[in-house]
């Protein structure tokens, strides 16, 4: 018994459809990425321009250590989430691990900093201080997350939710790094609530929104 083959008519129809509705080439897609990426950076640039960089009451070494550490985690997260050569992206276990580990690693770096500078463990700060950093993180991270989701929308046939979570963790990690650069506060509770919690919330937002936005969209009535 011979294996079934698609009809010649189907081949002609598919090739005709691709000619009727051309899709963007790699060069065209690359061109579109640039304004998207620049747009994603605008909130962070605005925040830094308005608030300025610096230790701001924290020990300089602590500020440098924590900021560099958070940036390293954000870089690694970006590399793993977006750096796959496969059009399917990284595997689901890698993405899941990435989404789970980004906030934990960043918390660990802050904990290390606080262990090296024990005076910074405590600090009496009101909810307003925590909320300010949360808002800053949300402001800086929403645009990168939106840009990544927009760019990859409707393309993931395997694990859109987990990939969304990984992208959320990536955006959150960068937003947390930005907030860490301008934040004048320290203290375990503040780091946890004002800085690490937003990373977790971005991860969850990516999980929920990404699942819908990234999932492969089937073409109804393709015929």
């Amino acid at each position: 018994m011979t294996a079934p083959l698609p009809s010649a008519e189907l081949r002609a129809r598919i090739l005709a459809k691709t000619r009727e509705a051309p899709s963007p080439t790699r060069a065209e897609v690359s061109k579109k990425r640039i304004p998207l990426a620049l747009g994603a950076l605008v909130p962070a640039i605005v925040v830094v321009a308005l608030l300025g960089l610096g230790p701001k009451g924290r020990p300089v070494e602590l500020a440098v250590l924590v900021s560099l550490g958070w940036a390293a985690v954000a870089m690694a997260t970006t590399s793993l989430a977006l750096g796959s050569r496969s059009p399917l992206g990284p595997s689901r276990p890698v993405l899941g691990l990435l989404a789970a580990s980004a906030p934990i690693l960043q918390l660990s770096i802050s904990a290390l900093g606080m262990a090296l500078f024990p005076d910074t463990w405590s600090g009496i700060l009101g909810p307003k201080n925590h909320a300010t950093c949360m808002m800053l993180s949300a402001f800086m991270g929403a645009a990168p997350l939106g840009a990544m989701l927009f760019h990859l929308r409707g393309l993931d046939p395997v694990s859109p939710h987990v990939r969304g979570a990984a992208l959320g963790a990536t955006a959150g990690a960068w937003a947390g790094t930005g907030a860490m650069l301008v934040c004048p506060h320290h203290g375990a509770i503040h780091v946890l609530v004002g800085h690490v919690l937003p990373v977790v919330l971005f991860t969850l937002a990516g999980l929920v929104v990404g699942g819908r936005v990234l999932a492969l969209q089937s073409r109804a009535n393709a015929r």
């Binding site: 079934p4 459809k17 899709s23 790699r26 060069a27 690359s30 970006t78 492969l216």
Partner: protein, 225 residues
Amino acid sequence: MPLSAGATFGAPSVFPALGRAFSFFGGASAATVASVYEEGPRSRASLAMARYGRGDDAAFAEVYDELSPRLFRYLVRLTREEARAEDLLQQTFLQMHDARGRFLPGADVVPWAYAIARRLFIDGTRRRKRDHLHDEYEDERSAAQNTAPSGEAVASARELSDALRTRLDALPELQREAFRLVREEGLSIAEAAEILGVTQAAVKLRAHRAYESLRDVLAELGEER
């Protein structure tokens, strides 16, 4: 010595993933990235898809000709309806066409195409509100084919086929899918893992469990006779 994507961004070549990640933000021209990966040993379909992504419109026919027979066979096995398989095949290729600008040279087009086809089948099946995924398993027909096709032999083969299909249908989805991709489609463990979004160890384990389960069916039928 082949370049790495990382080198195009001034990053050490040991960090190609980082280089590719930053290409997401427009850090390198498409031509640069394309030249970097063109050397990888890939199937003709993957090379054709890379050319298509670069703008060679004629290459899509080559991609189609390379992939469509096996994808169609896979979809017919899934759907057990040639008309529906053709519809899904068309959707699969149109999805690949839409996403051509995101296909990096050096990537493997086969797992991607299978993953799209599989997802479209699952979504379509859910939409139709079918009770279960359809399947077809015919590999064990040779015993019946080696003998004269008497009525008894045909009935026996059908019984065997039905029993195997029933058992395959009853398996957990990932076991069934792993078995189908590796044993029926002849894909590598790595390709099946990419399509299913799980580790290679998980694919091996699940395909093996499915195989063991089907072997039990054969043993049970053998004892009954």
